[in-house]
């Protein structure tokens, strides 16, 4: 088969078994199809020294500063496993040994959960890694996107633009990153809206039409000379630059494609996922709860 489809009562997702990548998302209510792919990518962090022959001092990425030195695309072929059943379906993709994505579709929801797992990020290659999840679609949003203002109203953002002065773009990636505390979306005029709701504050952007990306993890070699005097190198043990596995982070993006009539209400309601029900257990287990 050239394509595979997994579906619930409300949406279906198509993917390619040849590449292991997502292809599209269909809303069964209006039969609208949106091309959709999700990828794990990473930015190489800028280093202190610029390129020869000048070797002038550069601003490196660090705890305070995001200054990428080129993006590294995800792999062309992604090992994929599909786990299917009547309650949920999962599309599990392993982009790197240190980064994977699980697209989870419950039986009766119109959004998908994109659970990302990143880490331990490589260190032996001596390259700073700044990892993003990038969603690509055919939503024709032009150069505009929207990010939340600390969970309140959604603010319009425009690539390489500032409302109050003429911007001389020096950092085409970092200069277009904005805080995403609750959600980011792109939309067509009176058409589709692709929204991603986050479970934590992240930096994000839409660097090209149809794209949404969010940064999920970083591991960097250099101090960026703003006061902390440490490179950002977190481990599972709470020590830094020590002999312990690098930190693993896991979180979820909640993604939906809606028409203009339902987009805002669906997105706002989807924010409830940040306050998911708590699960408590009862038992007469002899040993205490893992803690």
């Amino acid at each position: 088969q050239s394509t595979l489809q997994v579906a619930n009562k409300l949406i279906s997702v198509t993917l390619s078994p040849q590449t292991g990548k997502l292809l599209s998302l269909r809303r069964l209510s209006d039969n609208s199809v949106t091309q959709l792919d999700s990828e794990v990518m990473w930015y190489n962090s800028s280093d202190e020294k610029g390129p020869p022959p000048s070797n002038t001092n550069h601003e490196p990425s660090g705890a305070y500063i995001f200054r990428p030195n080129g993006a590294v695309a995800g792999t062309a072929l992604v090992p994929v496993t599909i786990v299917e059943g009547p309650v949920l379906t999962e599309i599990r993709q392993e982009f790197y040994p240190w980064a994977s994505l699980t697209t989870r579709i419950w039986s009766d929801t119109e959004h998908i959960e994109s659970e990302w797992t990143a880490g331990p990020l490589p260190f032996q290659d001596q390259l700073g890694h700044e990892v993003v999840i990038r969603y690509e679609s055919n939503v024709t949003n032009g150069d505009e996107f929207y990010t939340d203002s600390n969970g309140r109203e959604m603010l319009k953002r425009k690539l390489n633009f500032r409302p109050s002065w003429k911007l001389d773009v020096q950092q085409p990636v970092a200069g277009n990153y904005y805080p995403v505390t609750a959600a980011i979306y792109i939309q067509e005029k009176a058409g589709r809206q692709l929204a991603v709701v986050t479970d934590r504050s992240q930096g994000g952007s839409s660097l090209k039409q149809g794209q949404v990306e969010l940064m999920v993890h970083r591991r960097i070699f250099r101090d960026d000379r703003r006061g902390v005097a440490e490179n950002l190198n977190e481990t599972m043990c709470g020590c830094t630059n020590c002999n312990c596995p690098g930190l693993v982070a896991r979180g979820t993006h909640y993604l939906t494609v809606q028409g203009s009539d339902t987009a805002a209400s669906y997105r706002r309601t989807l924010q409830q996922r940040v306050n998911d029900p708590l699960v408590l257990t009862f038992g007469k287990a002899a040993a205490p709860t893992a803690g």
Binding site: P17, G20, A63, Y64, P79, V80, T81, I82, V83, E84, G85, P86, V87, L88, E90, R92, E94, S100, T102, R104, W106, S107, D108, T117, P120, R226, G227, V228, A229, E230, L232, E234, T235, M236, C237, G238, C239, T240, C244, P245, V248, R250, Q272, R273, N275, D276, P277, L278, V279, L280, T281, F282, G283, K284, A285, A287, P288, T289, A290, G291
Partner: protein, 234 residues
């Protein structure tokens, strides 16, 4: 309350400290970040205790009078009987537990109970002011049986599915062992039981996960129990 056994005070202090511009932003030195983690963990542990006390009050039906009464130490076995599901909480006779590493499929009570073939009683608490239906995934050991049922507070069977955990989750569990976050892998599950749970506004519902009987004793028909997942890989 003055003589409450637990409160949210430590959590409030930790969160207040975390408002510093070098705290939640991640621009503090590592040892300072470790101190923030320690305070937050202590605050969460204390708040968890307070939450369990509140849940016990809710189960007893006395929550509306709480503000007027002196808080006292609650043990589930001393709760007044009340309508289901509170009765279920009462009859459980055990201790409430929460699993902080649920997203890594690590949960000592559910994994140990399932390993022994015991039933597991869950309370699903909804912190929002409107009814919710959300997916729940419970780490489970299938050594005793891979045939499990989920029933709601009325005893009605709920559709459930046994799902193998991902390679990413297994790797994460091993890393947690390497980093001494887990002492061993006895609480780490290779399977999860997934089902959709309803929960009332600012309240809870109970679900029971039990080993499925092979045959329904009334109809003599086999009980399906949790349906298994089909797995395909490329």
């Amino acid at each position: 309350a003055e003589d409450a056994t637990s409160s949210t005070e430590k959590l409030e202090r930790a969160v207040a400290l975390l408002q510093h511009h070098d705290a939640i932003t991640g621009t503090a030195k590592q040892d300072v970040a470790d101190d923030y983690h320690r305070r937050l963990a202590a605050g969460m542990a204390e708040a968890e205790g307070a939450f369990k006390e509140e849940l016990a009050l809710l189960a007893s039906g006395e929550d509306t009078h709480r503000a007027l009464k002196t808080a006292s130490k609650w043990d589930l076995t001393n709760l007044h009987t009340a309508a289901d599901p509170a009765q279920q909480l009462d009859h459980a006779g055990g201790r409430l537990g929460m699993c902080p590493f649920l997203n890594a499929s690590v949960c000592h009570p559910t994994v140990e109970m399932s390993r022994l073939g015991h039933s597991i009683l869950l309370a699903i608490y909804n912190p929002l002011g409107w009814p919710r239906t959300e997916g729940v995934r419970v780490p489970l050991d299938t050594g005793f049986t891979s045939n499990w049922t989920v029933t709601d507070g009325d005893g009605k069977e709920v559709l459930s599915q046994l799902v193998p955990v991902s390679n990413a989750t297994l790797d994460l569990q091993n890393l947690m062992l390497q980093a001494d976050i887990l002492k061993n892998l006895t609480a780490a599950a290779s399977y999860e039981l997934a089902f959709r749970a309803d929960a009332p506004p600012l309240g809870y519902s109970t679900y029971t996960i039990s080993p499925a009987e092979a045959v329904d004793l009334t109809t003599r028909n086999p009980i399906a129990g949790a349906l298994s997942s089909t797995v395909r890989s490329w």
